[in-house]
Assembly symmetry: C2
Homo-oligomer: 470 residues x 2
Amino acid sequence: MKTEDGKTGFRLITSTSINTGMAGVSPEKLIETDLKEGQEIKLIASGEEGVTRIIRRKMKKRTLTETEIETFISALDYGILTNSHIAAFGTAIEINGMHEKEITAVAESIIRHSKIMTHKGKEMVVDKHSIGGIAGNRITPLMIPIISSAGFKIPKVSTRAITSPAGTVDALEVVCPMDLTFEEALDVVDQTGACMVNGETVGLGAVMDKFLSVVKQIKVDPKEMMIASILAKKKAAGSQFVMIDLPTGRGSKLPLREDARRLAYDFSSIGNKLGLKVECIISPGDKPIGNMIGPALEMTEVLRILQGERGSLSLVRKALSMSGLILEGCGAANRGEGYEIASQILSSGKAFNKFKEIIEAQGGDPSVSWDSIPVAPYSHIIKAERSDIVYTLDSENIGIMARAAGAPHDKMAGVILHVDRGDEIKKGDPIIEIRAHSEGKLSDAIAIMQTTPPITLERSVLEHITGMQS
Amino acid sequence: MKTEDGKTGFRLITSTSINTGMAGVSPEKLIETDLKEGQEIKLIASGEEGVTRIIRRKMKKRTLTETEIETFISALDYGILTNSHIAAFGTAIEINGMHEKEITAVAESIIRHSKIMTHKGKEMVVDKHSIGGIAGNRITPLMIPIISSAGFKIPKVSTRAITSPAGTVDALEVVCPMDLTFEEALDVVDQTGACMVNGETVGLGAVMDKFLSVVKQIKVDPKEMMIASILAKKKAAGSQFVMIDLPTGRGSKLPLREDARRLAYDFSSIGNKLGLKVECIISPGDKPIGNMIGPALEMTEVLRILQGERGSLSLVRKALSMSGLILEGCGAANRGEGYEIASQILSSGKAFNKFKEIIEAQGGDPSVSWDSIPVAPYSHIIKAERSDIVYTLDSENIGIMARAAGAPHDKMAGVILHVDRGDEIKKGDPIIEIRAHSEGKLSDAIAIMQTTPPITLERSVLEHITGMQS
């Protein structure tokens, strides 16, 4: 039996006997509910026989069936799970993992419970995704207009910062509204070929939002659920080709190259099962991408690059490399020629024009320019204590400093890096500039230099071990 | 530095510099709080550096230090943990376990955070505990007056039913108030040498209540936390000797005898580290103890036994065996003679007099008698469909039937067993009597016969396997 929304369900009738295809409930139990004769109802297994049993099976490292996974995702969707159930399931997956078949089933289930974007026209629909947390990695607002200018549809939904000083939503919000509804976002794509919006308000794969908000509390992010959630959202957005960016190295979410590679295979293989062509790049995640960290500061750097001004070379190169590989993967460029085509789209000003077109369609001001973005009033410049070589720029600690300065809540706060890894610096040279909305936040950010320094100078001896640790 | 309650803490002062023994916080952060100059404050590690890091370490199967365990229990005590944190920690322990040292540290930490009972007089303080869930296992109200009559103090705190049709608190509440405060319970012990009260209102080891209520939602009950919690509560009640009852067999919490034995060693060994002498019995848990199931019905059977009337032999024997072993373990009887001494205390009427003394001290009516306990008005008797031998009485399914009839919420509802395992019965003989407060509940309970039958008759062939399962 199907209810109006196409899901399997029941209709309530009163009867003195129970036949095949019917489920019975005692009159007393019925009185406790608000159900009325003829009303559509759904049955969800509960208690030991339902979701709790499924969670317990995962605690025992069993492989869950498609039906069990659908039951869990349905229960999430219908809001009948407590935070305790969700945290327990997240913890069990974190410890015991999931097989590829299970991850695929989770993704398929998320898609079944999601709104689906259907696009007009014959353009191929593509997308990109970066595994997060690298300070300043603001490649999305550079890539979307490039890819879109090359003739592809790209319905990009992004997120706010979780632990970093700015997410794509926090940064782009400086120049246009990001909290578009599903219908509004689809209109922008119809009109311009692309959108750059907040995934939370668009609601693709929204059934996972509750799950992710709970596991965030316990600082757990099982890669299996991340893979399923990302791919399901891309599929629900109508994408056919997805390029995934996996930053690796010290301080990133994937410290070992090997882990990044394994994740890339999982993404490709599970994407394939969902009917998505997925390619991945492994990129450097051991230093920040871009020199300006914080929502408005990052937007300033992005606009400088779009407008042909000087900007961080690592940021420009990464955006062009990844865009080029997408063009190649989708047949819009021969192998090895994508970078150059992307570069031409950027330098010709086409990308900037497309960017303005998209933000105008989203309700932003198309006369935006890098020199019109404001910056927080209080500033402090940290200077080199000696002449030396910059040995590390720690993305995570730079993030901590920018957050101490007020980002992402204070849009105009953050840090500006005046040096790059390997630079030779002289005593007294400016190395980091902090911008904040108050003296207090400024001194909070300065204090970070003592506890989790974002920058270290070269030393010949890293550690000196003289004996056993007690 | 010690605050008034003896815990390590700080006092808030404003200062322009930070010296040893001081912890600093920026003026802006301070304004966000309600703290005032001179106020006592406690510092709890938070975020990644605090409890979340500890939970993640257990997810990775690390052994937690005493300090980490104290931090977790403190955070529970101060109410700063979300249900998600607690569920994640419970799940991680369920999957990865804890070493004896960790369990001991949990128990010690619970004791540090608990109220402690100090008893007058020189009598040895003893206690008993049954691992729960066996239908009708109402030995506590028989054992307490016996042990107490033998000259021991026994400050017994019990619980309500969680998944069973009646807990000790639900049953005894039929004859006296159970929700006594810590001070009231201690007064009753001073006055009569014993108490039989609700552990929840007395509040010994109360720091674990929040933990247990959360893991209950996900039907998880890590044995490590159970051991720590039970022993800590006994220690906080001032006990020196504890006898623990571990029912084993199909349908119990410990299906394998081997698991019960391992648990017994854990209880004894950890008890020893806490300065408690612990002995355990492994008892049959594959059938109900007692013939009457439900709060008032169980109280009726207990009173019949105390008053010298006929009652379930398995119930009488178990209460006397366990009481006897306590008397032997505490030196009040030679080995092998405890049962007889306990039996004399019961048959002489001393135990019933002591029972009345205790319930009067708790605010109950000492003129109570088995034939004055009311029973629910609606009844149905299930009769034997054929002449045969009773093959199994399933404790769990009897519990499900009694709960369907309304127990423990409807105090007077439940089931009465008219047969025991191995009995020869004739077609038409009464086998189970259901008592309920409404026709609806009665038919809910009758329906249990179809889905999870509490009784099965003997069959020569249990299963017939003809090939591989698909």
